[in-house]
């Protein structure tokens, strides 16, 4: 006998999740025992569209039907009641596919009150047998098997680590083997036919529209509240949120989570003039104009990992650390510049830039003469700067380093004539200090080692590197050691 889930239940859910009526109705009919229970249901939609929350809420409601008798349904004596149980498995918490399987068995055992031993579960075949045993035992304990049903929810299964390509199709077939089982897959964007089964119902959770977003956000009470009372707070908040949406979150961060975080972050600053007593909540436009800088600064959209000075007193006492350029030792800075040049100069131009005999030609950048220039190149070459850093071998970088070293010594000597130096610097080529510096740069990930992580040693001559700092950083570092990096850069 077909009947839709309880209308009271649906209406409470609808109020709880505005803008999701269709999805709630569809999902609850697809899992409810007396409606149209399916073997597989796929829920899909972008981040923060309420997939997990709604599934959990529906299942919770369906599994504990509104009842007046106290605790009797726990003993499963009431034959009039259908019994739906559920287990949710979060893929984000499972390290491997096997972990996922064992997690599944454990939660199914918990849901079906299985009392036997839990065996290890190496593959899906095993899972089917175990889950089948558990569900059969559970459903057999009732007279009418069809009144009991288990819903298994795989949350974020598309991001599961170390999963085999046959894993999902195998799960999809599970419902054919085990009766009274519904599997719900929550995914972001499913590939077409990823379960290799036809006719699997898909429920789409679209992104919230502006009206829905505002409706949801109006239910939040911001902190701190206005001194004049909750009504004022409510009215300012409901005007404040659309303003934020239109200025900041319309173009990026349109999901509810980032919209909410932006609103909550800016709220205290926005109402500061009211708290100070300079403005009143009533003419909202004046408040808006007074705070217009808040709406112009879109850097707030980037998530920051540092608290924005919760107590400014401590922040003023601690002195800011100087830039990275000045913290690195002299030779390490030179090595970093040399690596940048090795990454961005094509090897064939090294001759022009770094050979002693070519000093006169060095400033010409490329060293071409009028005769060699062709009228029009056949194909347009992309600038190397745009191509990003190329790999280089260690010895080429060291050769560039030893050229730079000479120039840097001269300019350092000129600048710091007053400083104490013991005359000649000791020869650093081939010294352990240089090798330490390279290893340090690599472990700070300012130099990135290419290839497998543990394939060759850091200092192996065959090891290839790529520089990981940008032009601005290198130019700053170059100036701190008295080198203009442009002079050495091709193009």
């Amino acid at each position: 006998m077909f009947c839709l889930p309880n209308e009271v239940l649906l209406s409470t859910l609808r109020n709880q999740f505005p803008g999701r009526q269709e999805q709630i109705l569809a999902l609850s009919s697809l899992v409810a025992i007396r409606a149209a229970p399916c073997r597989n249901v796929v829920l899909y939609g972008l981040h923060a569209t309420g997939k997990t929350a709604i599934t959990r809420a529906i299942l919770e409601k369906l599994s504990s039907p509104p009842t007046q008798q106290n605790g009797t349904q726990n003993e499963h004596l009431d034959d009039n009641e259908d019994e739906l149980r559920y287990a949710i498995i979060k893929s984000a918490e499972c390290i491997t596919a096997r972990h996922l399987l064992e997690q599944t068995i454990a939660s199914v055992a918990k849901a079906t009150e299985w009392e036997g031993e839990l065996s290890a579960c190496p593959n899906v075949a095993h899972l089917v047998v175990e889950v089948g045993k558990m569900i059969n035992k559970w459903t057999d304990s009732d007279d009418d098997r069809s009144r009991r049903r288990l819903v298994l929810v795989f949350d974020g299964i598309d991001h599961q680590r170390e999963i085999t390509p046959t894993f999902l199709p195998a799960l999809g077939r599970m419902g054919e083997i085990i009766s009274n089982l519904t599997i719900v897959y929550i995914v972001t964007a499913p590939r077409p036919n990823f379960l290799h089964l036809h006719g699997v119902p898909h429920i789409h959770f679209p992104s919230y529209t502006k009206a829905e977003l505002l409706q949801i956000i109006s239910t939040i009470t911001p902190n701190p509240e206005l001194p004049s009372g909750p009504e004022d707070t409510k009215s300012v908040w409901t005007k404040f949120c659309p303003a934020i949406y239109d200025t900041l979150n319309k173009h990026s961060g349109r999901d509810i989570v980032s919209f909410r975080s932006t609103c909550l972050l800016l709220w205290p600053k926005f109402i500061q003039p009211i708290l100070d007593g300079t403005y009143y909540p009533t003419p909202f436009s004046r408040l808006l104009v007074a705070n217009r800088t808040l709406f112009q600064n879109d850097s707030i959209l980037l998530p920051s990992i540092i608290a924005l000075a919760p107590n400014p007193t401590t922040n003023t006492t601690t002195t800011k650390l100087p830039a990275l350029a000045t913290q690195l030792p002299f030779h390490t800075r030179l090595l970093l510049i040399a690596s940048y040049l090795a990454s961005f100069n094509p090897p064939k131009t090294d001759m022009t830039h770094f050979m002693k005999s070519a000093i006169a030609r060095r400033r010409k950048k490329g060293g071409g003469t009028a005769l060699t220039r062709k009228s029009a190149p056949k194909h347009r070459k992309i600038s190397r700067k745009l191509l990003g850093a190329q790999t280089f071998v260690l010895d080429r970088m060291l050769a560039i380093f030893s050229c730079l070293k000479e120039d840097a010594y001269v300019s350092a000597y000129n600048r710091k004539r007053g400083m104490r130096r013991t005359g000649e610097r000791e020869d650093v080529s081939g010294s352990a200090d240089i090798q330490t510096a390279i290893a340090t740069l690599a472990s700070l990930r300012l130099l990135v080692k290419m290839g497998a992580a543990n394939a060759v040693d850091y200092l192996d001559g065959g090891c290839k590197y790529r520089v990981a700092v940008g032009w601005d950083v290198v130019r700053g570092i170059g100036r701190s050691v008295g080198l203009e990096v442009e002079d050495y850069l091709a193009e």
């Binding site: 918490e93 919760p310 030779h331 080529s429 081939g430 352990a432 472990s443």
Partner: protein, 695 residues
């Protein structure tokens, strides 16, 4: 990496590891080794270093050895050892106190953050502190050890420190986290199941977070986030570069789930300066480090590695080498100065007479024609011993004076002065010609009376109070004259500036008085320039006088002797740089290259009178290395072999090609194991040249 780690990482290494073929000998060791023991390559390496450092053999092996070619008496040898132990442990304590203090602020900040972490926890944010340590990675392990000890004693929960070396993949990291957490909980008698513990915090610290693989870090963060509703994680990240760079590396979703504060660590340079004050420039330091040694140390800090640990190690090395290698270091004993010469033997006196400073002293005496004194010093040990005693007594005073000068000067000057540089200048004995004094004296000229008064009061305060950092007490009694003079000047300047104020004619600084004012007047549309002589008030005249006097006083006060020239300075001044560089700045690559170029010098081969060495003595690897250097970046194997063969065989003899081929293989294997050649992928039968000479 600490020394300890380094030794441990080499523990399982031996020359056999890189050999491609072995002779399997099942019989050896089979009798006493129990069945089922792991083969030597897979055995569990026990911590051999513990054993190494505690064993008797190790202790005796670092013991001192008798000097003077073994003729030094055992008493003196033991005395040197004892002196070293005593003075170094004193110094080490002082250094340790600085190191402990240095991280104290950071530790307090972090533990406060961990205690207040609930403030930063919201529904989707993990509370996390970013400890910006600066690029000196070696100090991170000390900091994180201190941190975990402190946090474990303060919060009720486990503290897990992760290093990038442990984190090869996600599973192994999780294993480490779970194992450490459960062990710590079991140790405390708590539950092994950390899910049940409600109020606890679990601190996970990433020591060198930049060195972690980014995807492992991101995976870990997302895992922590999904467990956040059950386990209250608090994350600590050691960031060596900057937070911006670190954040760029993480994915957006990981960034979104972190929120917390930035904690700065005191900079290496300021820690080094404090250590320098406490350990080197302190008045209680027995051994003085000379300017040459210090300049090398500081230069290395600037040029190569900014690391407190290496600075401390270098100071320790200076102490060790001084007491180990200098027989006269027995005289450093300052506990009973009257008695120090009692331990001296004949050989010591001989050694004293060869000291350069003693020779200079004799030359001085020769110039002043004190021949009887010279004879006594050269022949009579008693006289010499008296001289040594006196010199040692006077040097303590002299050194104290130098340190006082440093302190007084530092407090006198306006801008912060690099203490190390000042110390080096003073111990080179040319403070009065240095820029420091010149700048100070020049600034005197620009001073108005009020500024002059603050300067003078700063100097008197410095003399009265001393410097606890350098373990200097006030010395107002000993510099009575100078103080009286200064106070006199102070009084006069005060009086005259008061008088000038009453007369409403403010006293100008001496520079503005001397500058002639340039006056422009426009007469009939022409500009006329004229110099106006400034007129001096009576107060200003007096101020000029006092200014001159202060300038003279200070110049005199900041004139010091060169301690390196003083008699027997070799005993207490460590200024030899030769071994220091060898020990701390080795050049392995350059050494290997030069060994391959001139093997004769290293192998102790007999070089015949002919300039060309015997063919039999040719070292195959060195010969092949020469061929290698002459080749381009791609080396044809056939060419390499034929040129090698040509060199290795005599023209007259029948070439034993097989033997030479074996040598060739051997040499090539050597080059390969040194990482100089590898198989080329570009061309068949070619080798790729990997390392060039001289880089």
């Amino acid at each position: 990496m600490s020394v300890h780690d380094e030794i441990r990482s080499h523990a399982g290494f031996d020359a056999w590891d890189h050999q491609s073929a072995y002779v399997y000998e099942p019989g050896t060791g089979g009798e006493d080794a129990p069945f089922g023991q792991r083969p030597s390559k897979r055995r569990k390496v026990t911590d051999a270093t513990e054993h190494l450092f505690t064993s008797e053999s190790y202790k005796s092996s670092i013991g001192f050895e008798p000097l003077f070619g073994g003729a030094e008496s055992e008493g003196c040898m033991l005395l040197r050892e004892e002196l070293y132990e005593r003075y170094w442990s004193e110094t080490e304590l002082r250094i340790q106190s600085v190191l402990d203090e240095a991280n104290e602020g950071t530790l307090a900040d972090v533990s406060q953050f961990v205690n207040d972490s609930e403030v930063y926890r919201s529904d989707d944010k993990l509370p996390s502190a970013f400890i910006v340590t600066g690029p000196n990675i070696s100090s991170q392990s000390l900091l994180f050890n201190q941190l975990s000890t402190k946090l474990r004693s303060e919060i009720n929960g486990p503290v897990i420190t992760l290093r990038s070396g442990d984190a090869t993949n996600l599973k192994s990291v999780l294993k480490i986290i779970i194992r450490t957490a459960t062990n710590q909980l079991l140790d405390e008698g708590g539950l092994s199941n950390d899910h049940n513990v409600g109020c606890k915090k679990i601190v996970v610290a990433f020591q060198d977070s930049e060195a972690f693989e980014t995807n492992i870090l991101v995976d870990l963060i997302s895992l922590f986030k999904s467990w956040m509703d059950r386990i209250p994680f608090v994350l600590l990240f050691g960031v060596a570069t900057s937070i911006e760079l670190f954040q760029e590396r993480l994915s957006k979703s990981a960034t979104r789930s972190l929120f917390g504060i930035q904690v700065d660590v005191e900079q290496t340079s300021s820690v080094i300066e404090r250590i320098f004050q406490k350990a080197v420039a302190s008045s209680s330091a027995v051994l003085r480090l000379g300017p040459d040694v210090l300049s090398i140390l500081m230069e290395r800090q600037l040029d190569h590695l900014q690391s407190v640990q290496s600075f401390v190690a270098a100071i320790k090395y200076a102490y060790m080498s001084h007491f180990y290698g200098n027989a006269l270091s027995v005289l450093c004993d300052n506990s009973e100065p009257a008695d120090v010469t009692r331990v001296l033997e004949d050989r010591h006196y001989e050694a004293i007479r060869t000291l350069p400073s003693f020779k200079k002293h004799i030359e001085r005496l020769v110039r002043s024609h004190e021949s009887s004194r010279i004879r006594a010093l050269l022949q009579d040990d008693e006289v010499l011993s008296e001289e040594v005693k006196q010199a040692l007594r006077s040097r303590q005073k002299a050194n104290l004076q130098l340190l006082r000068t440093i302190h007084a000067f530092q407090s006198a000057s306006d801008e912060a002065i690099d203490c190390v540089n000042l110390y080096m200048t003073v111990f080179e004995g040319n403070l009065q010609q240095s820029d420091f004094v010149k700048v100070l004296l020049a600034s005197l000229k620009r001073m108005a009376p009020a500024q002059m008064l603050t300067l003078l009061s700063k100097i008197t305060a410095a003399i009265r109070e001393g410097n606890p950092g350098m373990n200097l007490d006030g010395w107002s009694f000993e510099d009575e004259d100078f103080l009286v003079n200064i106070q006199d000047v102070e009084r006069k300047i005060l009086a005259l500036s008061n008088a000038a104020d009453e007369a409403e004619l403010p006293v100008r600084s001496s520079e503005t008085i001397h500058n002639k004012g340039l006056r422009t007047t426009v007469v009939a549309q022409r500009v006329q320039l004229s110099y106006a002589e400034s007129t001096l008030t009576a107060h200003e005249k007096e101020f000029l006088e006092q200014n001159e006097r202060v300038s003279g006083l200070l110049e005199n006060y900041f004139t010091t002797d060169d301690p390196r020239q003083s008699l027997f300075s070799e005993i207490w001044l460590c200024n030899s740089t030769a071994t220091l560089l060898e020990a701390f700045a080795p050049r392995p690559r350059a050494a290997v290259e030069s060994a391959l170029c001139v093997p004769d010098q290293f192998l102790n081969l007999e070089v015949t009178i002919n300039s060309y060495p015997q063919r039999t003595s040719l070292h195959a690897t060195a010969v092949l290395y020469q061929r290698y250097l002459e080749a381009g970046s791609l080396i044809n194997m056939a060419d390499l072999w034929s040129s090698f063969l040509e060199i290795m065989v005599d023209e007259e003899e029948e070439p034993d090609e097989r033997a030479v081929l074996m040598q060739f293989y051997h040499a090539l294997a050597d080059l390969k194991s040194m990482g100089m050649v590898k198989q080329s992928k570009k061309k068949a039968d070619h080798l790729a040249k990997v390392s060039w000479k001289g880089l």
